[in-house]
């Protein structure tokens, strides 16, 4: 290969890289603006493998075509978990006819106490369409780590409570992690972002 050829190939490679980055830029600049934290392209929280209260294995692929909103918590939680789940129920109400295109998932960080029946009753008290998922202690830790969710047991009154991350995660209908939703974010802003994800191209299965 002559030095001229090498230089020509290098020039082509540079041009291709430039075009690719321009295309990416164009793509990004036309991507939707969200009211919640955009985590599109995150290298964490790509999937999960958990059990539903009937003992079936559930993964993200089961919910393709729907927006999935996922929250980690525990049923003995007096405060932040009911607030987050009540907000999720409100989001579904705000979506109206599109409510069926949002799957809300509650992942237990306390599988020792959150037995399947309790998990089912608990999520149903907010919305019968919500799904409670759980796993073994080791698998729960692995999934939480993968979602950068922190939790730990804290002893209290001969029993224990759980410290845990109160962020909800939202996946688009293609199963890509898109949003991190703060516990403080109002239902209206979450519903607006879910609508944006449902309306985006490729959102149909």
């Amino acid at each position: 290969m002559s030095s001229l050829e090498i230089a020509a190939r290098a020039a082509v490679r540079t041009a291709v890289a430039l075009l690719a980055s321009l295309a990416l830029y164009a793509c990004e600049s036309s991507s939707p603006r969200f009211q919640n934290i955009d985590v599109t392209g995150a290298n964490y929280g790509r999937d999960f493998r958990l059990l539903d209260p009937d003992g079936n294995i559930r993964t993200l692929a089961d919910f393709r075509g729907k927006v999935v909103m996922m929250f980690f918590g525990f049923t003995q939680c007096p405060d932040i978990c009911p607030t987050a789940l009540a907000r999720a129920a409100e989001v579904r109400r705000l979506l109206g006819a599109d409510a069926g295109r949002l799957q809300v998932i509650f992942v237990s960080v306390d599988p020792e106490r959150d037995l399947p029946e309790l998990l089912r009753d608990y999520t149903a008290a907010f919305d019968p369409a919500f799904l409670g998922l759980y796993a073994s202690l080791a698998e729960t830790r692995a999934v939480a780590d993968d979602f950068r969710v922190f939790y730990r047991k804290v002893p209290t009154g001969g029993s224990y409570t759980m410290d845990h991350t109160a962020t909800s995660y939202v996946f688009d209908p293609r199963g890509q992690l898109r949003l991190a939703v703060s516990y403080q974010s109002p239902a209206e802003s979450v519903a607006a972002d879910v609508r944006t994800l449902l309306q985006a191209p490729h959102s149909t299965p």
Partner: protein, 152 residues
Amino acid sequence: MKVKMIAPLFAALVSSAALAQVTVGEPWVRATVPHQKATGAFTRLTAATDARLVEARSPVAAVVEVHEMVMEQEVMKMRAVPGLDLPAGKTVELKPGGYHVMLIDLEEQVKEGGTVPLTLIVEGTDGKRESIDVVAPVRPLNSARATHMPKH
């Protein structure tokens, strides 16, 4: 003036509170589902003179603690506190996102529409303790926040 905001039936239920140094406004307990062993109680407390909530009791739970919930970088942390200061004339709220009375190891399901007896032990600056009996209505599990807050 808190009592005015409470329905007459409810005022009757908390009549003992009106005699105390501390006014108990709009207490409520979050309902549970079967096998759920813990829940929270919420209210507003206004002391006539400086006081401190030092203990809470309830026949429905084996363990009752005053808890504080704090958020640190999106992580929810809940801790028992030894007491809760009730400065004279200032309304201290026990509400989702702040303080609550934690009912742990529930004897049975706390059902929506029912009531839960609570006893609040308050200590004055003179070290004298008094107990206030409260009957708190049970609100649905999905109650998001305390309702109809006064606007003043």
